[in-house]
Amino acid sequence: MKSRNKKECVAMLLAGGQGTRLGVLTHDVAKPAVPFGGKYRIIDFPLSNCINSGIDTIGVLTQYQPFELNQYIGNGQPWDLDRLSGGAYVLPPYVKGKEGEWYKGTANAIYQNINFIDRFNPEYVVVLSGDHIYKMDYDKMLAAHKAKGADCTIAVIGVTIEEASRFGIMNTDPDDRIFEFEEKPKQPKSTNASMGIYVFTWSVLRQYLIDDEADPKSQNDFGKNVIPKMLADGKKLYAYRFQGYWKDVGTISSLWEANMDLLNASSGLNLNDPSWKIYARNSAEPPHFAAGSAEIQNSIVSEGAMVLGSVKRSVVSHSAYIGLGAIIEDSVILPDAVIKAGAVVRHAIVAEGAVIGEGAKIGETQKAPVKGEWQIAVVGPGVKIAPSVVVAPAEMVKEDK
């Protein structure tokens, strides 16, 4: 019987990660809610990719610090996800029958929402994570999944052999069928790194989730348990090769790098793309203002910002204030941050609402920086730095100083 609520494909977005490696930036918010690129949050990327790919039903699985994320997603309207049928659903863990429990792992999070997915009776489920910056057409991946008649398709991106030992690596035959999965291998056999993006045939995944839950030894994780089990059972798992920009922004260093990639046309991260817009909840601010004393080059500046000082190779987010004579270089200034007159900020991330006092010095110019090991100083959300205080490179400031 045809279900009137049927959706061919439903996306499940894992947004519960605590993001401990982002330290003070995720002290009060979940990682997907961390601001990015002047006016976005990380979760805008998977949400916008979904709607641009024609997927209009998305379950957002939250757990850690869900409040800000819930409020941000709201009814999904900024992403065109306020639908009569489907749309964006925020799915925190809840009490079922006598038992209630937290999401124990990525697979368990989906397992606990089997009923939600079943309501749409989908053929396919896309599982996404909320900590990557990339633009991707999931519909093409879904088409590849169908063409191969796969049970599971995993998006992979080519990395260098040196980087490969930091990723989950998919070893494939010439037809891209995965015969082996290795998590962070010391001696990688290939360079196909998993992007944490999966397309599953729902009927297959559903059974695996039930079996996985019944296994007391399982950690209920896709990478550690479900995928290896499917491989062992000879299920059809295929790699889908993605070409383009993709970055895991799970560390301070990579988050900073991804912001800097916005300034550099050759990075491949171009958000000014009318055919693939990244949507965000709008802050309703007037245009930004560059004062007579402002010097801004090689930077991006968003609405509501006020710049009186000098900004070089930096990202200035909406509603931020850069005072007279302040110098901002190679830094990311998050929304509502205030950099007072004469302060110097270099190689740093200044979080939402932080205030840097007059003449304070945050971070310093790097001597021969090593790619991937930037000494990024971080001033946490709402933290006040008193005038003339010095914050060392790579220091993470949690409290007023």
């Binding site: 690129g37 002047g38 958000l271 709008n282 007037p286 245009p287 203002f289």
Partner: protein, 369 residues
Amino acid sequence: MNGVMGVIFASDNENKLNELTIHRTTASLPFCGRYRLIDFTLSNFVNSGITQIGIVTRSNYSSLMDHIRMGRDWDLNRKNGGLSVFPPFVLNSSREMYKGKIEAIYSIQGFIRRSPEEYVLLSNSNIAMNIDFDEVMAAHLAAKADVTMLVHKAKTTTSRRLVVETQDGEVKDLYISVTPSSEDKLLGLNVYLIKKDLLLSLVEHEYARGHVDFEKDILMKQLGSIKMHPYLVKHHAAIVDDVRTYYNESMKVLDPAVREELFYGDSIIYTKVKDSVPTLYKENACVKNSLIADGCEIDGLVENSILFRGVKVEKGAEVRNSIIMEDGKVMENGSVCYAITDKNVTVTAGRTISGYESYPVVIVKDKTV
């Protein structure tokens, strides 16, 4: 304020705005880098809890419709109330577009009568300010007024303005001025709060006699017979009624104190969300004293100017004392000074456009220079 509905007249002084309103109503005139004039009135209404709003249009209203759509960006897509847009209509008797606000109100009297609200706020759309109408209502009730008219202190110019003379907190005299004054006067902002029954009876009476002008045929005539209360708007209020006031009022917004009053007052000013990326400043960018919307790419010089969304200023190009509307492009070594370029205007490489401070040149939509 559940007891008040709003009516906005989308067209005023369009003939004086020349090239800027060929393709649009005054209400949809782009303003301040990312707004349309009507955003201010709509946002003030919404922020004061006025959510039953009628917009009367006269002509060229497709750009207005494209801008406001279902009113979602102002939170006006409601089950109860929300936006009602009245397209241009031809009156049976005269076979022409409405000539004045009396005809316009008469034509939507059914809408006004059927709405459950007791009061009506009438507003022209050529006004940008940030105001809390709750305070206007409180003053109206305290003064036991029949009509409250919003006024501000300003000098008259050559454009047609209603001068309000007061005595003991009441309107004593009203007259139209078209000559410049050297000192500040109280000038009407064309925003009125009135009980709808009174409004409809006044309008019906004058309409039957063929009168069209709300200020002249109703307010001036009723002086002395109904109680008119002036409400002084102390914050910045911009009135745009010709190209010169459009230019001057735009440039005033470069002053941080004016922006503070306009954007950070009681109301959040909403507009249509376009999801542009933040603005990119390139290697050779040099931007001074300018208001820059999202989505721009700047590699040249911009000084004392306003750039709307998606404007490109290429290497060696110069933009001074100008307003460049959405998707404008100033190519390499092009130069724009004292100009207003409408949407999607391209100034090709090496070309110069130059007007005068007192007479800024206007380049119409979609033109390539």
